[in-house]
C-alpha cells in the first residue's frame, strides 16, 4: 500500500536519511524505532512533503507522492501527528478537531459529527471548550491524535504519541490505536520510544540508526537481531565512538 524506496536526504554534508527502503502493508501497524538523531522524524517530514528528498521515491497505492505538496499528500488520505505537538493554540479543543474534519466534509454539520465521535473515542469531550494551549501535555498529545484522526486517513503516521504520557495513559493510547487498526481498518506507522507499546502493537518494525536501515522484520526477528541488541543494549556508547 505504501512504499519508500532508496530515499536519501542530505543536510549540507550530513546524511540524515541514507538509502532507506521499506513497505507498509495494508491493515498493518508498522513501527519505526531507533536512537535520537536516527532520522525518524526527518523520514516523516520527507513522507509528508515538509522536506524535499534528494533521491529515491515514495509511493502511496500506485501513486508517486514524493514531490507533491504537504496538503496534497494529506488530502490523499495520509494523516500525521507531530512529535512536538502543534495545536491551534488559541482555538478550543472542539475547533481543533473540527479543523481536521473540515477538508473532507462539505458541511459543518457532517464535520462536527465526525469531530464529536473522535472526541468521544479519545475521551476529549469533557474538555471540548477548553483553549488548546492551556491543556496539559497528555491532553495535548491526545488532541494531536484526535485532529489527525478527524481527517479520516487510510494511513496514519504517529510520531511519538506515547512520549510524556503516564503508564496508565500509555495503556489507553495502546487500546485506542489497536481499536483504530482493527475496527476502523486504519493502517498505522508509528515512531515510538516506548518499547512496551511497540511490542504490544507493531507487526513489523524498522530499526534506523544514523539515517540507515539497521534491521527490519517482525518483533521477534528484530529483537533477536544481534546488531539491534548491540545498538540498543549497552552498544550505544560504542556506537557513538564509531561514528
Amino acid at each position: 500500500m505504501f512504499s519508500v524506496k532508496n530515499v536519501v536526504k542530505r543536510f549540507g554534508g550530513l546524511i540524515a536519511v541514507d538509502h532507506v527502503s521499506f513497505e507498509i502493508q495494508k491493515g498493518g501497524i508498522f513501527g519505526i524505532i531507533g536512537p535520537n538523531g536516527a532520522g525518524k522524524t526527518t523520514l516523516f517530514n520527507l513522507i509528508m512533503g515538509n522536506l524535499a528528498l534528494d533521491e529515491g521515491e515514495i509511493r502511496f497505492h500506485d501513486q508517486i507522492i514524493s514531490g507533491k505538496k504537504t496538503h496534497e499528500i494529506a488530502a490523499l488520505g495520509i494523516g500525521r501527528t507531530f512529535q512536538m505537538v502543534k495545536p491551534f493554540g488559541g482555538l478550543t479543543v472542539e475547533q481543533n478537531v473540527l479543523m481536521g474534519a473540515l477538508p473532507k466534509h462539505n458541511t459543518f454539520q457532517e464535520a462536527r459529527k465526525v469531530a464529536r465521535q473522535i472526541m468521544d473515542l479519545l475521551e476529549l469531550t469533557p474538555y471540548q471548550d477548553e483553549i488548546a494551549q492551556t491543556l496539559p501535555v497528555g491532553l495535548k498529545k491526545k488532541l494531536e491524535l484526535a485532529r489527525a484522526l478527524a481527517t479520516q486517513p487510510q494511513l496514519l503516521f504517529l510520531d511519538e504519541v506515547m512520549g510524556g504520557l503516564h503508564p496508565r495513559e500509555v495503556q489507553d493510547m495502546i487500546e485506542v490505536i489497536r481499536y483504530l487498526n482493527r475496527e476502523q481498518n486504519m493502517t498505522i506507522c508509528m515512531i515510538e520510544h516506548v518499547m512496551s507499546a511497540v511490542m504490544a502493537l507493531c507487526d513489523r518494525i524498522l530499526v534506523l540508526q544514523q539515517g540507515r536501515k539497521l534491521a527490519e522484520g517482525t518483533v521477534e526477528e528484530v529483537t533477536r537481531n544481534p546488531e539491534v541488541i548491540q545498538a540498543y543494549l549497552g552498544g550505544e556508547f560504542k556506537d557513538v565512538t564509531l561514528a
Partner: protein, 329 residues
C-alpha cells in the same frame, strides 16, 4: 435550543441596530460635524474590517494596507479627472487593480512570516509613495489631485452628507457579513488554522498557499474600495497621506484595539478611535492635533500589552465571567 435563543436575540438586536443606524443620520442632517464623524466611523470600520481578513483572521500583520487604499483612491480619481470615467467604474477598476497587486504581494511574500512580512509590506507601500510622487504625468506628483465638485450620482459626489453615510454604511454591512461568514465557513476556519499553526494546518490537507492568496486578494480589493470612497468624500488624493505608513498603522491599530479576528472588533475599534479623535480635536482645538494620536498610540500599547485579544472579546469575557459568578452565588 440555547443556540437558537441566542441567535434570535442577536438577530433582533442586529435589526434594531440597523434601523437605528438608518434613522440616525436624518436626526443630524444639519449637523455636519456629527455626520462627518459618523461617516468616517463607518468608512474606517469598513477598512479596518478589510484589513482584519488578512491581519486578524489570517494573522499576517500587514503594515502596508495604505498601498491598497492608495491604489483605490488614485485609480478612481485619475480615471475620473483625466478620462471622465465614473468613479463607480473607477472603484471597481481600483478594486481589481488592488486585488491583483495584493495577489502579487501575497505570492512574493509567501515565505515571510511575522515581522518580516510586516517589513515587506511597509517597503512596498514606500515604493508606491515614491512612484506616486515622481510619476507626475499620471499621478500629478506630490501636490495630489483634487476631485472636482460636481454633485451627481454618476460622479459619486453628493451635496448631502447623508448619502455618503448610507453608502459607507452599505460598504460596512458587506464586509461585516463577510466577516460573519468567515466565522462559520471552511475558508475562515482554514485561514485561522494557518494563523495558529501553519504546518499543522497543511498536514490536515488545507491548501495554505491558496487560502493565503485568496485572503490577500479579497482584503486588498476591499481596502481599495475604501480608498475610492475616501477620495470622493474628502475631495482630494495626496501621496503623503494615501500611501503613508501612518495610514497603514492606523488601519491596523483600529482592528487590534477593537479585537482582531472577530467580526465586530474592528468596527468598534474604528468607532472608538474616530470618536476619540473628534472629541480631542473638539476639546483641545486644531492646534493640538498631535494629542489625539498620542492618546491612541498609548491606547494601542496598553491594549496589546494587557488585553491583546482586543476590547470587544475582552468585554465579552468579563461579562461572561460576571454571569457565571452570579449563577454560582
Amino acid at each position: 435550543m440555547m443556540q437558537r435563543l441566542v441567535n434570535s436575540k442577536g438577530k433582533r438586536n442586529g435589526l434594531v441596530g440597523i434601523l437605528l443606524l438608518l434613522v440616525l443620520p436624518l436626526l443630524f442632517q444639519d449637523q455636519a460635524f456629527i455626520l462627518d464623524t459618523m461617516i468616517l466611523m463607518a468608512l474606517w470600520g469598513f477598512v479596518a474590517c478589510s484589513w482584519n481578513i488578512v491581519g486578524g483572521y489570517g494573522g499576517l500583520l500587514s503594515l502596508g494596507h495604505a498601498a491598497f487604499f492608495g491604489i483605490g483612491a488614485y485609480t478612481s480619481t485619475i480615471l475620473f479627472v483625466d478620462y471622465w470615467v465614473s468613479p463607480w467604474i473607477g472603484m471597481i477598476v481600483g478594486a481589481l487593480l488592488a486585488g491583483l497587486f495584493g495577489l502579487f504581494i501575497g505570492i512574493v511574500t509567501l515565505r515571510l512570516h511575522g515581522p518580516f512580512f510586516s517589513l515587506c509590506t511597509i517597503a512596498v507601500t514606500e515604493v508606491l509613495m515614491i512612484i506616486a510622487i515622481n510619476w507626475q504625468e499620471v499621478t500629478h506628483g506630490s501636490a495630489g489631485i483634487p476631485v472636482p465638485y460636481r454633485p451627481g450620482f454618476i460622479n459619486m459626489v453628493f451635496d448631502n452628507r447623508v448619502t455618503y453615510f448610507y453608502l459607507a454604511l452599505g460598504l460596512l454591512a458587506i464586509v461585516y457579513f463577510l466577516s460573519l461568514w468567515l466565522n462559520r465557513s471552511h475558508f475562515g476556519y482554514y485561514l485561522v488554522g494557518l494563523r495558529e499553526n501553519e504546518q499543522a494546518a497543511l498536514a490536515l490537507g488545507i491548501n495554505g498557499v491558496k487560502v493565503r492568496l485568496i485572503a490577500m486578494t479579497i482584503s486588498s480589493a476591499l481596502t481599495a474600495v475604501g480608498g475610492t470612497f475616501y477620495a470622493q468624500y474628502v475631495g482630494i488624493v495626496e501621496p503623503f497621506h494615501e500611501f503613508s505608513f501612518h495610514l497603514s498603522a492606523q488601519i491596523a491599530l483600529m482592528a487590534i484595539i477593537g479585537g482582531i479576528g472577530t467580526a465586530g472588533g474592528p468596527i468598534f475599534g474604528a468607532i472608538l478611535i474616530t470618536l476619540l479623535g473628534t472629541l480631542l480635536r473638539a476639546t483641545l482645538g486644531g492646534a493640538h492635533g498631535g494629542i489625539q494620536a498620542l492618546v491612541y498610540g498609548l491606547l494601542l500599547v496598553i491594549v496589546v500589552l494587557f488585553i491583546p485579544q482586543g476590547i470587544v472579546p475582552w468585554f465579552k469575557q468579563v461579562v461572561a465571567k460576571r454571569k457565571k459568578g452570579v449563577v454560582h452565588v
